[in-house]
Symmetry: C2
Subunit: 280 residues, 2 copies
Amino acid sequence: MGRSRGMAPFVGTTSRGGGMAQSDPLYQRIASDLRDQIRTGAIKAGDRLPTEVELREQYDVSRNTVRLALGVLQNEGMISSTQGKGTVVREQVMLTYHAAWAESRDRHASDQTDAFYAEMRDQGRKGEYRDFEMRIKPATPELAARLHVDEGDSLVSRAISRFVDGQPFSLQDSYYPMDISQECGLLTPHDVPGGVIRALAAKGHTEIGYVDELTTRMPRPDEARKLGLSQGTPVLVYVRTTYSDKRPLRLTLTIFAGDRNRVVYELGDLTAYAENGGAS
Amino acid sequence: MGRSRGMAPFVGTTSRGGGMAQSDPLYQRIASDLRDQIRTGAIKAGDRLPTEVELREQYDVSRNTVRLALGVLQNEGMISSTQGKGTVVREQVMLTYHAAWAESRDRHASDQTDAFYAEMRDQGRKGEYRDFEMRIKPATPELAARLHVDEGDSLVSRAISRFVDGQPFSLQDSYYPMDISQECGLLTPHDVPGGVIRALAAKGHTEIGYVDELTTRMPRPDEARKLGLSQGTPVLVYVRTTYSDKRPLRLTLTIFAGDRNRVVYELGDLTAYAENGGAS
DNA sequence: TAGTGGTCTAGACCACCAC
DNA sequence: TGGTGGTCTAGACCACTAT
């Protein structure tokens, strides 16, 4: 093949402001070139990219090299490929989860779903939950430390998947110490009427403090499947531990699809914020 | 080549609890096999994996297929490869950022660095900051909306990189409206004695409310470089907008390396938490 | 059926690291 | 110097989608 290696297609684009040196690998330069086309709007969100064969001819490289370049952008979450259809630029729709007050709103509560419903309704979306499961699980070291029980002790796990407009949104799993679960009737594979938080409060276990921990990581294969995540989408891991005046009551682990979720805290006096249409 | 395709190496490992079906792609099955070995501790954090050539022989596939499998695990953040050295299982060291009170601690303040120092000292680490930069930047739509200025208006940007024990930790960029910056002396390419927050308060711009937004995404190439992120490491994006009783004062954008950071909020009455050694 | 991306092979040469 | 991962080629066949 008469390749005129590393020339024409890159003219004027390789030595742009932020990045690519002349000596970078071919696939990185192709990735960079496509990234720029997306960033500048030459290829817009939702648009199809050239096919792999077209890119192969356009840049005069092997298909494998084209796929390496597309892989880079896929891992950055910029594009998404589907067999038989093509490769498109991904578009983002962000939903907001108000951590500070999401659970304390006093609505028609039904398990942990009330807050979620209210949030979604406020944002004009249709929230549902699916796949409720109640299980008994042994405490991992992390769970044991946070709930002040011994490692391996039985915990009650109540898990649900949240969907918005038919799309998976987050996976939530709440853990309760066994003694509290028995006292408050959490050992049912159904919704707790009025919600778990009220059931706890009714027996004197009132939640008065929260510790929230937020981290991020790449999803495990089953999480990617359940959340329908495409390559290059991280998850936001949100762990809330709640306390009464005496002890930890509950640990709720939420795995948010990173490309569709934003967690918000509103703290202090936000008069100026609310006045200007901030609080949705 | 006499390949006995898809047999021996997988016996007893392919149809484990959560996952791999017999019909999955070869490279996925190899990835799954290695993932299990890591998960079960057969290969521990810090250990070296077999070389690509060894894996190629072990599974009787082409080297390219081995690399596809390793790519999967790399994108999950489980392993890290270095040219000439090999491939190792990554280990995690998590540091904690206490969002609720990080900025309100009244120590020997020096720009935005006081809170960071205090946090790191509490965790027994050595915090430093590098690469301070003061710039004037036009407001993007996102910045304009949050700071209640017009798009394109000039904003003062004061940026630093945070390092812990010599390792990059997070990138921080604070934006201030131009009128406040002039009034409070923020247009200097140096630290503001006593800290910016005090300088604002001294002129009557006291911060009394915060809105924090947390999202995650894959890093852009320059962020990955500055933070020294390896493949498959997302970033945690933390945006804090602060308010006086009248208006937004400041927007601070922090990009945390996702594999080394945890953001924590402590809310409400946490007597029970503190009593049991919770508050570090 | 034609075209797309998905998987896989069997080589090659290069850059970096430890010895 | 030998071994490692990094890059790249030039094919092949398959699975899925659109028409």
